[in-house]
Amino acid sequence: MTKPKDLVQGTLDLLILRIVALEPMHGWAIAHRIRQMSSDVLQVGQSALYPALHKLEQQGWIKAEWKISETNRRAKYYSLTRPGRKALTEEAANWERLSAAISAVVRTV
């Protein structure tokens, strides 16, 4: 229900940054989009999502503003900031390296 067990610690941040990079989005939409894009493999519950969002906001990587949502309600939309974009590139590169390394190890065995 909370953090997906197979989600490596820290990668949630990367996922959020990646998703938010597309367009400003509210929390539910982010969770929804992650699920969609991972073909229902990655399910992020609110209990993990919102603390992560708030933490990223604290770090200044994303910023929040209140907008009217597609359901005609007020919702908090998160968007990427300039430092966030930089962090995203770095994190993504890190992830690529790490996953490639792990894949390499796993495949050879």
Binding site: W28, S47, P51, E57, Q58, Q59, G60, T71, A75, P83
Partner: protein
């Protein structure tokens, strides 16, 4: 950078707009929930099912909210604020406890702040001069044969000149002498404090006149008449400092012009109103190395350390010893930082008081700790609930510490009020001669001190109970019926230890106070050798020197016929104010005068009738009489000590005595009088020799007319002043009573005794209150505790029960009666784990907190009762003493003090050539191991020039 800004902005937002931030979080999560439900509906669930599914999918909202809040990083502040709120509520809930604890701490903190504000003003504040650390006083060190060196502050002018010319470590060096003189402003004469200074004096302090200028080289020549005055003096006499310039005063029987006014802040030596060039007054003693009658001060060069300067001065002194073995052997130089010199041995007394008052604070802390412990034990249940709700131990300790801090801060504020009042009281009852006391008050340093004390004591008294209570085993505590928590062995031990500590400290204070009171009483029982009651002493200084003898003779006969006057006399220094001492010889003069090593005697000049007026008994022979004039054979009267010392069992009458006073003429001993304790009740009487006023010169032409009256001597003062001014208008007079003068001997011991005894009394009442609580706490726990105060509201509600006054459902109480072991707490714990936790438990626990009376009221009452009774008792014992003290204090002001000191060499008539002889009294008149009873209070700079 921008990241910090963002964080800072968000932190500010979450601190100051906390409600809104929390609302937004709620809204955000709410939105999430709605979307979740909507999604459920879209997949074809019924609204009920969708809601349920969404809630399940969401998980614990409260927890994630908490996590979100945690990410803000200001959770500490929130907790602190919440703790503060909670602490405030808690104190309000038990006002009796709060009032008692605050009262106790306010007394402790207030007393400490008051004493500290005095310590701060007297000992800690830097002197108000530029770079004051470089200013040092120079004094003689007399090497005693026993090896103990004695400091003699007075130095001689030739020595000073050599120090000045040979040393390289000083920027400036000056000597000065200060005393009260008669000054005529316009037509009226009055006393003013005058300091004679040398050229570099103002450079030592780096001070410049605010109006006018300093002395020119011409004005420092003999016979010149220019003076500088203090701002206060200028304002007092001429309204504005600038108006004072060019005004003419009359002093030393010559007109002098004010050429400059010194700044308000400059006050050295203490209380000086007029500064006069030392070199403008001819003085024969400036060439005598034995005439130690000046004080010296200097400013060290910037990079010179005190030891380096001392080393150089010591080598100079050694050279002088070799060059002038007769006068200088055994004489060294000592440098003392001006602050140390100013403070003198006042420091010891103040630190004693600070220590005593610190003990009171410790006792107060132990006391409040006991109170809190009693209260906290009652709150064990509450703590257990908090722990069950997930509060960590540190969180609970922190909350209790915050409560302690709130208590301490409130007490601190109340204590400041006590301190402001207490500081004034301390200043009022402090013995005269404590330097810089007038500046005592609550300032920034004192406030910081109070804040530190508050923080420190809050930890001291809140930590032990906090640690103890936070240790409570949740399970045990919840299982035990609410409030019936057993005081564990550890809690008892801690409280016992606190009470034992309290009593021990109290015993220390009471013993100290008792000893001081005992010695004060012993001092008061010592006979001084004269009867100070009903005696008025009026210091009288005629401006016109030639006619002074005639004036005094006339005045004495005028006063003797006044109604109510029993006896009249005049003396150059009333008992207790030794004016001069000199070496004496009996029957013949040795070839080589052993001025330094010969036996010495106190010298006084008196008019006939003085012994009668002062109540000094005449043992043998006769008093002086009108016939003892300049033409008659020289006569002298000695006291019993001198008779014993010089004659053993022989009859002294008819023998001849020589004194190195104003001449070495032989004087016939015509009488023997009783001993007077000149140096105060704690010091044995010393040999004394009295001379008739018509045969000898006396300092500054000043006599104190002493009058024994049948009624209140104070009533006579105005009449006498009138009599004096009828004879001559330009005579300065200052009246006081002998009792007041004598009272000064007791001022310091009394001050210490009263304060330490007072602290002891406070400590005793606190300790008694502490023991009382300890007793009343055990063994029967107040009824309120027996009733479980936590009920299961939902259950009661279901059964239609209402909460009654005790917060216990009828149902619950009924069951308690039937099953004494039944504990409502179990239901709470059941509720905790079975029913939806949040709001339900919150209410329950709140209810339980509100209903609890952890600190039982009888305790508070008995505590107050003990404090009140001890207060009454202490007041009863102390009030008479305090009243006497008050009377004495309000009657003595420094200005009232008769200081008959100060021989002006140039004014001594008629034999000037030997005037320097009597001035050198190594380690005798100026040194006081027993500072408080010494006739010459520390801080010789503000004493008279000899």
């Amino acid at each position: 950078m921008s990241r910090w800004l963002t964080q800072f902005r968000l932190a500010l937002r979450s601190v100051f707009l906390r409600k809104r931030v929390d609302q937004e979080l709620d809204e955000e999560l709410q939105y999430h929930l709605e979307r979740q439900i909507r999604e459920g509906l879209n997949t074809g669930l019924t609204p009920e099912e969708a809601r349920y599914a969404a809630s399940r999918a969401m998980g614990g909202i409260a927890k994630s909210k908490e996590e979100c809040r945690d990410t803000r990083g200001v959770i500490f502040i929130h907790d602190l604020l919440r703790d503060l709120q909670y602490a405030g509520r808690n104190l309000r809930r038990s006002p009796g406890f709060a009032a008692l604890a605050i009262l106790i701490m306010a007394v402790g903190i207030g007393a400490n702040t008051a004493v500290f504000s005095v310590v701060n003003a007297v000992l800690l504040k830097p002197l108000p001069y530029r770079d004051p650390g470089r200013i040092v006083t120079l004094s003689n060190v007399v090497r005693a044969p026993a090896g103990a060196n004695a400091l003699a502050k007075l130095i001689s002018v030739p020595d000073f000149q050599d120090w000045h010319d040979q040393s390289t470590v000083f920027d400036a060096m000056a000597y000065y002498g200060t005393r009260r003189v008669s000054v005529t402003v316009g037509t009226s004469a009055e006393y003013a404090r005058l300091t004679r200074v040398t050229r570099e004096f103002f450079r030592v302090f780096d001070v410049r006149p605010v109006a006018g200028r300093s002395f020119t080289a011409d004005e420092e020549k003999v016979g010149a008449g220019a003076v500088l005055v203090s701002s206060a003096y200028a304002r007092q006499h001429f309204v504005e400092p600038s108006h004072a310039l060019g005004q003419v005063l009359r002093v030393f029987d010559r007109p002098v012009t004010i050429v400059g006014v010194l700044p308000q802040a400059f006050d050295f030596p203490d209380g000086t109103e007029i500064w006069f060039p030392a070199t403008a007054l001819a003085s024969p003693s400036v060439t005598q190395r034995t005439a130690n009658n000046r004080l010296a001060i200097g400013r060290l060069k910037r990079d010179i350390t005190l030891p380096a300067a001392s080393a150089e001065m010591t080598s100079i002194a050694r050279r002088l010893e070799q060059a002038y073995p007769q006068s200088n052997s055994g004489k060294g130089v000592a440098l003392t930082p001006l602050l140390d010199d100013t403070v003198g041995d006042t420091g010891a007394m103040l630190y004693l008081l600070l220590g005593a008052v610190g003990l009171v604070l410790l006792i107060a802390c132990a006391n409040v700790a006991t109170l809190l412990l009693a209260k906290a034990t009652g709150r064990a249940h509450e703590m257990a609930i908090r722990a069950a709700l997930g509060a960590s131990r540190s969180r609970i300790v922190r909350q209790l510490l915050v409560e302690g801090l709130v208590l301490a801060i409130i007490a601190g504020v109340a204590g400041l009020v006590v301190a402001v009042w207490g500081t004034r009281a301390l200043v009022a009852i402090a013995p005269a001669g404590v330097p810089r006391l007038a500046q005592a008050g609550v300032d920034g340093t004192v406030l910081t001190f109070t804040l530190c004390v508050c923080t420190m004591v809050s930890v001291l008294f809140a930590l032990p109970p906090a640690l103890q209570v936070s240790q409570v085993d949740t399970n045990d505590s919840l299982q035990a019926s609410a409030g019936r928590t057993v005081v564990g062995g550890r809690g008892r031990t801690l409280r016992d230890a606190l009470v034992v500590g309290e009593i021990a400290l109290t015993v220390v204070l009471l013993t100290g106070g008792g000893l001081l009171v005992r010695s004060l009483l012993a001092l008061q029982q010592v006979s001084l050798g004269f009867r100070p009651e009903h005696v008025l002493a009026m210091e009288t200084t005629p401006q016109n020197r030639q006619r002074s003898r005639a004036l005094f003779t006339g005045l004495l006969s005028d006063v003797s016929v006044l109604p109510g006057v029993v006896a009249v006399g005049a003396i150059n220094a009333p008992p207790g104010n030794v004016d001069s001492t000199s070496t004496y010889w009996i029957d013949y003069l040795p070839k080589e005068l052993n001025l330094l090593t010969g036996p010495s005697t106190v010298m006084s000049v008196v008019a006939p009738g003085t012994f009668n007026a002062l109540g000094i008994p005449l043992r043998r022979g006769r008093d002086f009489r009108e016939g003892d004039t300049a033409d008659a054979p020289r006569a002298a009267i000695i006291n019993e000590s001198l008779a014993r010392q010089a004659f053993r069992h022989d009859d002294p009458l008819g023998h001849v005595i020589f004194c190195a006073f104003d001449s070495l003429e032989p004087m016939t001993i015509v009488g023997v009088v009783g001993d007077v304790r000149q140096y105060g009740p704690a010091v044995e009487a010393s040999p004394e020799c009295y001379l008739p006023y018509l045969q000898h010169g006396f300092n500054n032409e000043t006599l104190s007319i002493v009058v024994r009256t049948s009624g209140d001597p104070g009533l006579l003062a105005d009449t006498m002043r009138q009599k004096v001014h009828e004879r001559s208008p330009d005579v300065s007079v200052k009246a006081t009573t002998m009792e007041v003068l004598v009272g000064e001997h007791f001022a310091a011991p009394r001050f210490r005794a009263i304060l330490v005894a007072l602290f002891g009394a406070v400590a005793l009442s606190l300790a008694l209150a502490g023991i009382n609580q300890q007793d009343s706490r055990s063994p029967n726990v107040p009824k309120l505790y027996r009733v479980g105060r936590v009920g299961n509201r939902s259950k009661n509600a279901q059964e239609g029960n209402e909460w009654d006054k005790n917060g216990t459902g009828k149902h619950t109480r009924a069951r308690m009666k039937r099953h004494p072991s039944w504990t409502p707490v179990i239901q709470v714990s059941k509720a905790n784990f079975t029913v939806k936790p949040g709001p339900m438990l919150d209410k329950t626990s709140c209810r339980s907190e509100r209903r609890e009376a952890p600190f039982d009221q009888p305790n508070v009452r008995s505590g107050f009762k003990v404090v009140a009774w001890t207060g009454i008792l202490a007041t009863d014992l102390l009030v008479p003493e305090l009243r006497r003290l008050y009377v004495a204090c309000t009657r003595i002001t420094p200005q009232q003090k008769l200081i008959m000191d100060g021989s002006e060499e140039s004014e001594i008539l008629p034999h000037q050539e030997v005037t320097g002889l009597f001035c050198w009294v190594p380690g005798r008149a100026f040194l006081g191991e027993n500072g408080e009873i010494h006739p010459r209070p520390r801080g010789a700079p503000d004493r008279e020039d000899r």
